[in-house]
Point group: C2
Chain length 499, copies 2
């Protein structure tokens, strides 16, 4: 065996912007993803797991967060082979780019339409910040090859079912639907047609109105005309549009009416004469009808022109799921929880590879956001019960202690024997405490001779320590003796009493 | 929106050595990992998910496959910050190195002993080959901070339970246990003590006898003395040991006797006078006793000195699970399926970081190997039933078709409406076929007027097409009409008949 070299010790640290997940952090996320996958499966979606690594060429430059210029990928170059420079490889930054690659690569084998879901980590090489990590989970569902807006309606219905399946009750969320074509019609009407000349300013408009809920009408007006000074005094240069242009755009953003029919009528009026816009309004009407026909009423899904989505690649319907219950933010201000999922139609991503237009639509759930929401609702983050701990009073009798845990496990009870140094018994109980064990088993020589074990009810013990006078506990001992043969039954009784 | 540039189209390909997993490839692996996690959990192990990315410094040079010098990591350098060069980061190549880092980093917070399991992909930058990928799954369980061999015995028992839980019946596997200390004692007795001088030759001996089942006694003797010419005529230089030295080593490798007691006695004789070896034999005796005491007899776990494990870092007990049923290899030769999991005690890995010795032991399951074994046993890889497909006869009635799938889903039946271009009805049935749909629903204008739907039993249809004369099917129509209100019940009846 190689001897350790006399080099300085390596630092035991997670790389900057990465983190570790322990115990229930892993299992609760997994349980939520399992619930989501069950809904997707019911809707006919198939699992797809691509590798974490893609060629940089295949990933393309479709990084979602256009607002954050320092966002990038983690990339490296392969070793050169036969004097050809190696390919550049990178970790995927989302699930959509790999799907577009798969849809192109396997276009002759996959069913069309292809409904697929994908869950897993993605990586972004960006400056880490509080709560912002460089590896995080996404959970996507997309339909490739379905031109009809029925596919978009289906995704919205599935998103609604998914939120309820994981435990967000109806009334605590709303799915808002818009259409980029309508926005295109409005921009055209505002003198900003979809041509190379106006490409940049249209991008700015898009990103600004995506933040409408943050800036308000006034802020958007300032940002799109002369510029805006924020609370800290920083000035953001304006986009230089005329007030009348921005008024038209704001009229669109604020176009939501009392019900979907009224909203659609209002949007129709706004895009009058612009064919793309008219098509977009018609699509929204179809989506609203399909959803209403399946019982997804305005308590769950509404047409709302305020939804824009930051991504450049959307070409039709866009949708966003927002949680409407209140939470306190880090500064103690009460606000809506906000967006946890979103998506839309992107008909050009597969075309990058094949040259042929392939319609596609899909959504991505922000896994960490949704988990945080469920924790805020008290549906996650409960203290999980640890295993029963069989303590070691006599290290020569390890066989007996292991027999106890084996019996407990065979009865389906999570259990372990203490495997540290057994000399200090206090350490064993401290360990059981740290493990959140409900019960500790103790058997020294005396107990063995009498054919009994001591059962220590650790949850009751904690309660007694906290408030020993409480009526309901005062007559219950938190440690007692039972015949060895009754150990499993007694432990089960205690555990079931607390679960 | 940015316009697509006139650059050449990217290639839609998976990078070399990577692959995509579709549908049941994903869900069957997941189901197996869930079964494994349930056993680990029952044993008191806690989930840990570290990020895919570690600092190269933390990973260290502990790549498992010492035989393959071109094995490496995927690594890249962070951007420099404040004139300091950026850290080198890399994708993890196994689950053990990140565990050692975590055990050191959180040593004050984690319970001790710390039992953890980890499942997920690992990455190796090696030359891809047939069936060898650069990203693959591992599934590990380790106990950190438990000096007692009871921890090793527990891992072996858990491995046995795990194999049975996923569907490998008792008798189809064997877990073989050895101890590096015994091997050390034998090497010492053979004049190869654990000193810097003999470090290289000991490494060669280790890797050679790890391949004893491939080379046989003669091959090992040749490789460790003068060298060996293989079937193709290639000559491998020998390690230059004397025949008597190798005989001692081979006596150890072949030391397994009729039962554990006899094997232990034989090993005791071989290491006589070498304290490390004596300690090792004593540990094996304890492990055998603990396992026998819990009912894990020689039909499941045996002491076998032929198990060496390739890894340099093991310091005590090593263990390997082998599947003993026969399969045909790619050349049509019948052979044992072979190893699917293994591990051992490594007391020095955490010490790299902290300077303090932290005992640890654990195992890794080769997820793909185990899945392949289950497929070979017919427990995986069955054709999964697809969703019910509701066809679209009239695109203006999408609302009705979507109402049908909604009803089916609400009854828990996986279903989807055809979302491609509905013009060619034949394409819709071909799609249902590709989706492995058990049933297609058809409702044109006539059926709608009559208040009925057509149900097409696609599985029966396939059977009839294959062999229409079979008695049991000849009177069953594979397409028939039912009242719209009975659709869900009838579909359920058909699906349940086939599952």
């Amino acid at each position: 065996m190689a001897k350790p070299k006399k080099t300085p010790r390596p630092k035991a640290i997670t790389p900057k912007g990465f983190r570790d997940y322990f115990g229930t952090e892993v299992t609760e996320r997994k349980a939520m993803l399992d619930q989501i996958a069950a809904v997707y499966h019911l809707y006919g979606f198939e699992a797809l797991e691509t590798s974490a690594v893609e060629t940089v060429e295949a990933l393309g430059k479709f990084l979602p967060d256009v607002d954050r210029p320092n966002v990038g990928v983690f990339a490296w170059q392969e070793e050169p082979e036969a004097e050809k420079p190696g390919d550049w490889l990178a970790l995927r930054y989302d699930m959509t780019a790999p799907l577009a690659r798969v849809a192109a690569q396997y276009r002759n084998e996959l069913p069309s339409p292809y409904r697929r879901y994908a869950m897993g980590p993605v990586w972004r090489n960006e400056k880490p910040g509080p709560g912002r990590f460089r590896q995080f989970y996404q959970c996507d569902a997309d339909t490739v090859g379905a031109p009809s807006v029925a596919a978009d309606a289906e995704i919205c219905a599935m998103l609604s079912d998914t939120l309820e399946a994981v435990g967000i009750p109806r009334g605590d969320y709303i799915i808002r639907v818009n259409n980029r074509k309508v926005l295109d019609g409005v921009l055209e009407a505002a003198g900003l047609p979809d041509t190379e000349e106006f490409s940049d300013v249209r991008g700015i408009v898009l990103r600004t109105i995506d933040k409408h809920d943050k800036f308000g009408d006034e802020g958007v007006m300032a940002l799109l005309t002369e510029g805006r000074k924020d609370e800290s005094g920083d000035f953001t240069k304006g986009a230089g549009l005329a007030t009348t242009q921005v008024e038209l755009i704001l009229g669109f953003v604020n176009g939501r009416q009392v019900d979907n029919d009224a909203t659609i009528a209002r949007l129709g009026a706004l895009v009058e004469g612009a064919q793309t816009g008219i098509d977009g309004v018609d699509e929204l009407r179809q989506i609203a009808n399909l959803l209403a026909g399946q019982g997804y009423g305005p308590d769950r899904i509404v047409i709302d022109p305020a939804v824009v989505r930051g991504l450049g690649y959307y070409t039709g319907p866009v949708y966003e799921a927002e949680l409407t219950f209140k939470i306190e933010d880090e500064k103690g201000r009460v606000r809506d929880f906000g967006s946890v999922a979103g998506g839309g139609r992107y008909d050009d991503l597969v075309k990058r590879f094949t040259g042929q237009e392939v319609p596609a639509t899909g959504m991505s759930i922000g896994v960490d956001r949704l988990l945080a929401a469920l924790t805020a609702k008290g549906r996650m983050g409960a203290t999980a019960q640890g295993p029963v701990v069989v303590t070691v009073m006599d290290r020569d009798r390890m066989n007996d202690y292991m027999a106890m845990v084996t019996e407990l496990r065979q009865a389906g009870i999570r259990a372990e024997v203490y495997l540290g140094n057994p000399k200090n018994f206090g350490n064993q109980l401290k360990y059981a405490d740290k493990r959140m064990s409900p019960v500790a088993i103790i058997q020294g020589g005396d107990e063995e001779a009498k054919g009994v074990v001591q059962i220590k009810d650790l949850i009751l013990g904690t309660k007694l320590a906290e408030n020993a006078s409480l009526e309901e506990w005062k007559d219950r001992p938190n440690q007692f003796e039972v015949p060895r043969g009754e150990m499993v039954a007694k432990v089960r009784e205690i555990i079931e009493g607390y679960s």
